[in-house]
């Protein structure tokens, strides 16, 4: 019988996760005897994910690879899964260590934190004001990246982070927050949105306000969603890791752990097929790869992929 690996995402219908699912399917095809169950709740709640996890436990899947809506709330449910012999890993957005065997970061948090500020600073040789438009206040990864960004601010003299606002990963709210930023800070030079929903909305708001060229929107986004903003010039560049690779790697790791080809322990190197291998730190987490920068030179090539 095929091994069943469940790829649980924050919510169905988000382009990023759809791409990750594609990657997982790719891994399954490569491995041969694996079936991927791509699932998740309707909206980004922990309760919804718990219901999904319960039904996966009931089906007796072999492994669960989850991008969590809440690092803590899922722990009891995932613990139960592990007790019933299911391999549990988290990827993208992590679960507290006691709720998973390992966590796969898309990239190292420090790298991402540095990357987002660097993207803004590269286009501001004389320094300037930047603002952060974050996602929902409860998203796990956002704040870590912003923290990491703040740590390296010293490397970018002349760049001032004026404020952080929250768009809750809603297009209209992010748009309105971006409008608010432009009003409150007439001299704003850049908006950093480390979220794929926020960056699109901010770029649209900047374009609508006629401030293309004046304010640069950057951060983390998907090429397919950001192609318009690059075209219009509202965004000069942005970064993202490849979600296809991320899904692929998560599936590979889950398979390796579930077949006991590898064990999750500090220092272990776990193979991820074509992505090489990931080395775990003392919280059993590891990073996949560096984020990749997209701009007008390469956007055409990627916008139809993810």
């Amino acid at each position: 019988e095929d091994m069943r690996i469940a790829l649980v995402v924050k919510a169905l219908g988000i382009g990023f996760f759809e791409a990750a699912a594609k990657g997982a399917e790719e891994a399954a095809a490569e491995l041969g005897d694996v079936e991927i169950i791509y699932t998740g709740p309707t909206d980004t709640t922990a309760e919804g994910q718990i219901e999904v996890i319960n039904s996966l436990i009931a089906q007796g899947v072999d492994a669960i690879a989850i991008s969590a809506n809440d690092p803590d709330a899922l722990v009891p449910a995932l613990k139960k899964a592990m007790q019933r012999g299911i391999t549990v890993i988290s990827w993208d957005s992590g679960v507290a260590p006691e709720g998973r065997q390992m966590h796969l970061n898309p990239s190292s948090n420090a790298l991402i934190g540095n990357m987002i500020i660097k993207l803004a600073a590269d286009h501001l040789p004389d320094g300037g004001q930047v603002a952060v438009l974050s996602a929902s206040a409860t998203a796990t990864n956002q704040n870590i990246w912003i923290d990491e960004m703040n740590k390296v601010m010293g490397d970018y003299p002349g760049i001032e982070v004026v404020t952080t606002v929250y768009g809750d990963d809603l297009a209209d709210k992010s748009y309105r927050e971006a409008q608010g930023l432009m009003q409150s800070y007439p001299d704003l030079d850049a908006i950093i949105a480390p979220t794929s929903v926020g960056i699109v909305a901010a770029a649209q708001a900047v374009a609508d306000a006629g401030k293309v060229g004046q304010i640069n929107v950057t951060g983390l986004g998907l090429p397919s969603e950001m192609a318009g903003a690059i075209d219009s010039g509202a965004s000069k560049s942005f970064a993202i890791w490849n979600p296809i690779d991320l899904g692929y790697s998560a599936a590979m790791i889950a398979h390796a752990l579930a077949t006991e080809a590898a064990t999750a322990e500090p220092g272990a190197a776990i193979p991820m097929g074509r992505m090489g291998s990931v080395t775990l730190d003392d919280t059993n987490s590891g990073a996949m790869a560096d984020p990749f920068v997209y701009d007008s030179s390469n956007i055409e090539q990627f916008k139809s992929i993810f």
Binding site: A46, S55, I57, A58, Q59, D70, A73
Partner: protein, 327 residues
């Protein structure tokens, strides 16, 4: 015909006849149908542990639904229940940070629930404002306070014994939550159907002015119902927080609509005046079975909600269509 020899019988139909024609019978048939369909569709369905896990899909919502059913029968509604959960959970989390005992945590959760219920009661019964809009307001207010307190943080570090309420088992596969659900079902069933208080609830729902003129303390009864709904939200907050082991302001988001759906699916007239607790109990099982059954088939949640939405309209619409069609 002389008028004095007219005899008026107590009833034209026996209670059993009435019951057979009732909503609950229809709903029970639906529930059994879904159960059978589930067992056929998925090999994992008929398994004691899995069925036990399935109950978690509805127990907390149903606890609130019982109190909500009484409130809706009385012609009011409380849309703030999910936000009360958030606030009660936040309060428990704050207490847990200062190493409060499990008992204290429970008391904190229940009292915050009661306090929120009291706040709604003051606005609705004390000031005479319409409950549907008041509770849309308090829905934002209560959860808003949680956001003010917690922001993007989470409370964790609940004592280990606290986990029992949401994760413990009383006996074999029978969870604590399920036992609590069953006990509450009986209590609310008795309150609504066997006591003077329950009769007053029906009277108020059918005609609040008439009930007032009949010497019923309408405002007091309604206030008690808001308090009960708040209290039940507090109970649900204890269970849910214990099950999740942590608190964020977004806890229980959107649950109010599921609770109302459950109550309405259970045959409670949203306009007040009629409905039964057995109906709500069956509706809880129906909703739990549908979501769990579809979950086993890995149907996306949003597709399940189409199913629930269609069920909600369908079970009301089909009998009416049938009646129309027959004449």
């Amino acid at each position: 015909m002389s008028s004095t020899d007219r005899f008026i019988p107590d009833r034209l139909q026996s209670p059993l006849q009435q019951r057979l024609k009732s909503w609950e019978t229809l709903l029970l048939a639906v529930a059994i149908g879904i159960f059978i369909a589930n067992s056929l569709a998925s090999p994992y369905f008929l398994n004691a542990w899995n069925l036990s896990d399935a109950t978690f899909n509805f127990t907390e919502k149903a606890m609130i639904a019982f109190a909500m059913a009484l409130l809706i029968v009385a012609g009011e509604i409380d849309l703030s229940v999910a936000s009360i959960i958030a606030l009660a959970s936040t309060a428990m989390g704050a207490a847990a940070q200062v190493d409060a005992s499990t008992l204290t945590l429970v008391l904190v959760g229940l009292s915050v629930g009661l306090a929120c219920g009291a706040f709604n009661a003051v606005l609705v019964c004390g000031m005479g404002l319409p409950s549907i809009v008041v509770t849309i307001g308090t829905m934002s207010l209560f959860r808003g306070i949680s956001y003010i307190i917690l922001g993007d943080q989470a409370y964790r570090g609940y004592p280990t014994s606290f986990a029992y309420f949401g994760q413990g088992y009383v006996f074999w596969v029978i969870s604590f939550e399920f036992v609590l659900f069953a006990i509450l079902a009986v209590i609310y069933g008795v309150i609504l159907h066997k006591t003077n208080f329950g009769r007053a609830v029906y009277a108020i729902g059918n005609n609040a002015t008439g009930a007032l003129f009949s010497g019923i303390r309408v405002n007091r009864v309604k206030s008690i119902l808001f308090l009960l709904t708040g209290l039940m939200s507090g109970v649900a907050a204890v269970c849910l927080t214990s099950r999740l082991g942590s608190t964020r302001p977004s806890i229980g988001l959107g649950m109010e609509l599921e609770v109302v759906t459950m109550v309405v699916l259970g045959g409670v007239n949203i306009l007040g005046g009629s409905g039964t607790i057995p109906g709500v109990v069956i509706a809880a099982f129906v909703m739990g079975l549908v979501t769990f059954g579809l979950g086993l088939l890995n149907v996306p949640g949003i597709v399940m909600s189409i199913f629930i939405g269609a069920l909600l309209i369908g079970v009301i619409a089909l009998p009416r269509l049938w009646q129309k069609w027959r004449g």
